[in-house]
Symmetry: C2
Subunit: 339 residues, 2 copies
C-alpha cells in the first residue's frame, strides 16, 4: 500500500499542492476560502492522508516542539523530576519536549540551540541540575526562553528557581518548634545560591526565636557524605542538640560519624537534611527529616511561563524571577525536647 501524499490529495481535489497544503495546515498569510478548505480536508480524510508534522511546522513557522536544553538534568541522578514536571505540563498542551542534555559542554550547547532553531521549536526551557547563575546571552534568538533552576545575572530571561531562604527557614523552624535552641548548621564549602539563601533563612529564624547568634555553630563541609563524616567531631564538640545539614548526603555522612562514636539519632542529636534525595533520605536509620527541592513544580511552572509568553506577546511576562516553595518532609530524625 502506497503512502498517500499531499500531491494525491491535491489531484483528487483539483487544486494546487500549495492550496492543498494551506487548506490542511492553517496558515495566517494564505487564507483559503472556507468551502475550498473544507472540501480539501474531507478528501484528505477520505483518502487516509496523514499530515506530516514537518510540513505543518514549515507552513506555520513553528512546530509542536518545546526545546529543553540542560547541562545534565536527564543524565544525573538528581533533578530528573524537573523533566517530569515539564513533560507532564507540555503534554497537557499537546506539546512535545525535545530534550537535549549537553553535559555542560559549550560546543554541544551551541549546536543544540542551532538544531532546535532549525526544528522550529516554539520556545526553549534552559535548565541546570543544581540551582546556579548562568550566562544566558547565548540563548538570544527570536524564540522565547525561560530559565528553570537557574537564572541570569542580568535578568535577561524569566527564571523559575527554588526559594532557598524559605527552605533554610523551614529546616530551622522544624528544629526550633521541637524545642531545640542549640542548633548547628553544616553549610557547604561551594559558593551557590543554596549556600547563601539557606544560611540567611537559618539566621532569620534563630533571630525571630530570640536565640542569640553563636558563630561556632556554623560549620562548613564538602557537600557530600565524606564532608559530613569529617565534620562530626566539630559538631559533637559544639554541644549542639540538633543539626541542619546543607544536604541529605552530608546528613548521611554525619549519621555514620555519630554512630561510629556510639551516639544515637535523634536521642543524642536531631538531624535535618535538605534536597529529599529519597534514595538516601527515606532509607537511613532513622529515616531522615528533610526539606524537599520542588523539582517537579519548577518544570511545570517553567512550561506554563513559556506558553504564556508564546501566547501573550506583550513584554511584561518576559522577565522576573519566580521563587518556588521548598516543602518540609517529616520523617524520624528529630527528637522533641521537653520544656
Amino acid at each position: 500500500m502506497r503512502k498517500i501524499t499531499l500531491q494525491d490529495v491535491a489531484e483528487a481535489a483539483g487544486v494546487s499542492v500549495a492550496t492543498a497544503s494551506w487548506s490542511i495546515n492553517d496558515n495566517e498569510k494564505h487564507r483559503i476560502p472556507a468551502n475550498t478548505r473544507n472540501r480539501v480536508r474531507k478528501i484528505a480524510e477520505s483518502l487516509g492522508y496523514q499530515p506530516n508534522a514537518l510540513g505543518k511546522g514549515l507552513v506555520q513557522g513553528t512546530s509542536d516542539l518545546i526545546g529543553f536544553v540542560t547541562d545534565d538534568v536527564a543524565t544525573m541522578p538528581f533533578a530528573g523530576q524537573i523533566i517530569k514536571g515539564a513533560q507532564d505540563e507540555a503534554w497537557r498542551s499537546g506539546k512535545l519536549l525535545l530534550i537535549i542534555d549537553t553535559g555542560g559542554k559549550e560546543s554541544v550547547e551551541n549546536k543544540a540551540l542551532t538544531m532546535m532553531a532549525e526544528q522550529q521549536v516554539q520556545g526553549i526551557i534552559y535548565s541546570t541540575w543544581y540551582h546556579r547563575p548562568v550566562e544566558s546571552l547565548k540563548l538570544q534568538s527570536e524564540r522565547p526562553a525561560v530559565l528553570v533552576n537557574c537564572f541570569d545575572m542580568h535578568d535577561l530571561y524569566p527564571a523559575i528557581v527554588p526559594d532557598e531562604v524559605q527552605g533554610g527557614r523551614t529546616a530551622t523552624e522544624l528544629l526550633v518548634k521541637a524545642g531545640h535552641r542549640r542548633i548547628a548548621f553544616v553549610n557547604t564549602t561551594s559558593p551557590s545560591p543554596a549556600r547563601t539563601g539557606r544560611l540567611e533563612g537559618y539566621k532569620q529564624v534563630l533571630e525571630e526565636a530570640g536565640i542569640s547568634r553563636d558563630s561556632s555553630l556554623i560549620m562548613y563541609a564538602k557537600p557530600d557524605q565524606e564532608g559530613g563524616f569529617n565534620v562530626t567531631e566539630s559538631l559533637v564538640e559544639s554541644g549542639a542538640t540538633a543539626v541542619f545539614c546543607h544536604n541529605d548526603r552530608v546528613a548521611m555522612g554525619i549519621y555514620d560519624g555519630l554512630k561510629q562514636k556510639g551516639l544515637s539519632i535523634p536521642d543524642d542529636i536531631s538531624v535535618v537534611g535538605f534536597d529529599d534525595q529519597s534514595v538516601i533520605s527515606a532509607h537511613l536509620h532513622p529515616a531522615l527529616t528533610t526539606v524537599g527541592l520542588p523539582h517537579y513544580d519548577l518544570g511545570v511552572l517553567g512550561i506554563r511561563k513559556l506558553l504564556k509568553i508564546c501566547n501573550d506577546k506583550s513584554d511584561e511576562q518576559k522577565v522576573g524571577t519566580t521563587r518556588v516553595k521548598c516543602p518540609p518532609v517529616i520523617r524520624d530524625s528529630i527528637k522533641r525536647l521537653q520544656f
Copy 2:
C-alpha cells in the same frame, strides 16, 4: 532585518523554489546538475540563508532526529547514563535525540510514537529504567527500532541488555578469589532477568570452585534498604563469611543491620553489591565493592545498532540480543581470608 527565505535564494539564482530546495537539501530523487547546485549554494550562503531542518526533513523523508522513548529513564535517578551514552553516540553521527519519557503510561507512549513518526525520526530507541521484557508490538512501523535495557519475548526487535549471568559470576568470583567459601546470596523477591541471571552466575561459580551447594545460604529480600536490613538476622545465623547482595540498596540496609549488631565490615563479614548506584556505593563506610550496570555502553551500542540498520537495509541486523558486560568496581568491603 527580514529573514532570508528559500524564495529569495531562488529569485537571486534565477531558478525555481523547488530547484533551490533540491540544490540545498540533497535529494536522491531529484538530482540537480553539480554546477547549478554549487551556484545556488554559494548564493544561499552569501545571502545568509539559514536552512530549515523541517524543510530538509520533508525533502529527504527523514530528519536528523532519533526518537528515544522510555518509561522513566530521564526522570528516575537510576539509569540516566543510558541517555548519556546514546546522546554522545548520536552526536558523533550528527544526530539529535528526541527524548520522551512516558512514565510508563500506554496512552502517552502511543501519542509519543505517533508524534515521533510525524517528526520523521530516522529510527527509535525504546528503553526502560530497569532490565525487563516489554511488549514491543506497538513499535511496529516503517522505521527501524532497537530495544535498550529491555527485550521482546518474541524477538521482534534487536535488544541490547546487561549480561546478568556474567554479572552474577563476577560478584561471586570476587568473593571466591578472596578465599571465601561460605558465601550467602541475598536475591530479590521481584521476578526479573536480574534475579534469574545473577542467581545462575552465583551457582556456576560456586560449582566451578568445588563449593557444595547449601540452599540455606540463598535468601530473598525486597530489593531496597529495608529488605537488606530485615534479612540481616538470617544472614548472621547462616554463618556466612561473605554476602553477595542483589543490589547496592540491599547492601546499604545490611550495613545498617550489621552495625546495629556490633559487627564490622569487612572484618566480620564481606559484602558485595550490584548496580554501582554510586550516590550510595561510593560513600558507604567502608566504600562498597560492587558490580556496575553498563548503562552508558547500552546507550552507545543501541545507537550504533540503530544506525547500522538504517544504513544496511538487509534483514540480518534486525534481530538478536547483545549482552553487555557488567564490570567489577573494587572498593573496600571485601576481606581477603588467610589460607
